[in-house]
């Protein structure tokens, strides 16, 4: 088997060719560097971000907001989703609100959160939280409603009470649903954090993006986009491994 037979080798090769063509076109003057800077300049901007260490506070701000919103969103989404699935009155009250929040692009709440919570981290956490919580709510709500009744009866006939049914059937079933949506939730959390920073902040990758836009610095903007993609892919990888480990029974 030659290296070329491997998919990832072919993919890397295609990427290298595309980057070389882009670089060549830039150097030949066929692309305006103001709009489409060549890869070498984007790489330079990326190196510069890390060289002076100025990127770290921004990374910390974005990650704190995204992971804070993700954790809060999962906890609140699970609690509300479970309550709505198990208590009809809670479902009557919550379902219309969640449907409404689900129907609108929730990032429109970003400016409102800045007014309410200021330009600090709280408004970014709030936006990431709203994005994640609604997703998790519907995941848990639908998941519990679709629990296999035969499994519930099985545990009951083996001598299990309500707590045993919750522990042996509902929790693993819902956990599987959440794990299946974890990657989407991670994406939502970072979207919330970055958009929140874009709307109004003094730190964070979204703030840097806004700064790059206002100074027409396309190299910095592309470098930041690459950076965000790389970090989200890393987290996706970790979530994928966790999913594979926890759902190995599938």
């Amino acid at each position: 088997m030659t290296p070329f037979n491997r998919v990832w080798v072919r993919q890397l090769l295609a990427l290298a060719i595309a980057l070389a063509l882009w670089e060549g076109a830039g150097r030949a003057g066929w692309l305006n560097p103001l709009y489409a800077p060549p890869p070498s300049r984007v790489g330079g901007a990326l190196v510069e971000l890390f060289a002076d260490g100025g990127i770290w506070p921004h990374l910390e701000a974005t990650f704190s907001a995204a992971l804070g919103g993700l954790a809060l969103g999962i906890v609140v989404g699970v609690v509300l989703g479970a309550a709505a699935a198990l208590v009809p009155l809670v479902a009557e009250l919550l379902e219309p609100v969640m449907m409404l929040l689900n129907a609108v692009p929730r990032v429109v709440l970003g400016p409102l959160f800045v007014i309410w919570l200021g330009i600090g981290i709280a408004s970014k956490v709030a936006l990431a939280f709203v994005l994640v919580a609604v997703l998790v709510f519907f995941t848990v709500y639908t998941g519990i409603k679709q629990v296999d009744r035969r499994l519930v009866e099985r545990v009951r006939t083996l001598g299990g009470g309500r707590w045993a049914i919750l522990r042996e059937v509902y929790l693993p079933f819902v956990a599987a649903w959440i794990m299946g949506n974890l990657k989407v939730a991670v994406g939502f959390a970072f979207t919330g954090a970055v958009v929140g920073e874009f709307v109004g902040a003094s730190r964070g990758l979204g703030y840097l993006l806004s700064f790059a836009q206002s100074t027409y610095n396309a190299s910095l903007m592309l470098a930041l986009v690459l950076l965000i993609m790389a970090f989200v892919l890393l987290i996706f990888g970790a979530a994928g491994r966790l999913e594979k480990r926890l759902l190995r029974w599938r």
Binding site: R150, V155, G159, E168
Partner: protein, 257 residues
């Protein structure tokens, strides 16, 4: 051991699906319920397990037979997919207070008895249909039930696996003196396994229309049971009676239309 008297079951419609059913299961005896679809056979088992409330009638157990002495094996194996085979078998024991280590050891013993030694660490998704069925059986038998209810438990298995698993169950039931109430569509299976076969009429308002005693001695080999002189005539009789029930119900439907 178990007495069902004048039992009626309803799904909330105007007519009961089953009406006035009475039957008895004694310790160490194999009793089958056969009948057309929709005659309430499975519902009767669910009522015995208190998974469905009867609309009339009584279900009585002997004083010494507690609800925890009754095991049920459904048509679907209904194993927890996130638990391994051994964990599934140990589940009932743990739910009844057996400590984790002892439950695990007993689970392994039961898996071994049912020919699944070495399969304990596998998840249900990694087992064949026959293996899953054996795990479900081990799960129920590990609780040492004195009365076993079975709702077409082997219907989904291929013929060879089905014959083997069924023989395993018969051997165990005979050895342990367990009373069995089996629901099946398979008349041959009912006769080969049972001491008594009850025939249900077409629902709604299904009733027990016939009761047959099977004089084939125990211990039973399920292949040889089919060659016993009493088997053929009983099978013909049962088949004729069932056909009459179904044809009669069809005629009533046509006349009513």
């Amino acid at each position: 051991m178990l007495r069902v008297s004048d039992l009626s079951l309803s799904y909330g419609g105007p007519e009961p699906v089953l009406e006035g059913a009475s039957l008895e299961v004694e310790a160490g005896r194999f009793v089958s319920l056969v009948g057309p679809s929709g005659s309430g056979k499975s519902s009767l088992l669910r009522a015995v397990m208190a998974l469905q409330a009867p609309s009339a009638g009584r279900i009585e157990r002997d004083a010494g037979l507690s609800p925890s002495d009754i095991g049920i094996l459904f048509q679907d194996d209904a194993l927890l997919p996130w638990r391994t085979a051994a964990e599934n078998v140990a589940l009932g024991l743990r739910l009844r207070g057996t400590d984790r280590r002892r439950a695990a050891a007993e689970a392994e013993t039961w898996l071994e008895r049912l020919g699944l030694a070495g399969f304990g660490a596998r998840y249900p998704s990694r087992l064949s249909g026959g293996q899953r069925k054996r795990v479900a059986l081990a799960q129920v038998l590990a609780l040492r039930p004195r009365l076993l209810l079975m709702d077409e438990p082997f219907a989904s298995l291929d013929a060879i696996v089905r014959a083997r698993v069924t023989q395993d169950v018969v051997d165990l039931v005979e050895r342990e003196g367990i009373g069995v109430l089996l629901v099946t569509h398979d008349l041959e299976e009912a006769l080969a396994l049972s001491d008594t076969v009850y025939l249900l009429s077409q629902g709604p308002r299904a009733r027990i229309s016939q009761c047959y005693t099977v004089p084939i001695p125990r211990p039973r080999n399920l292949v040889r049971a089919r060659t016993h002189p009493a088997f053929g005539p009983l099978f013909e009789q049962l088949w004729r009676d069932l056909s009459q029930e179904v044809d009669g119900a069809r005629r009533e439907e046509v006349e009513a239309a």
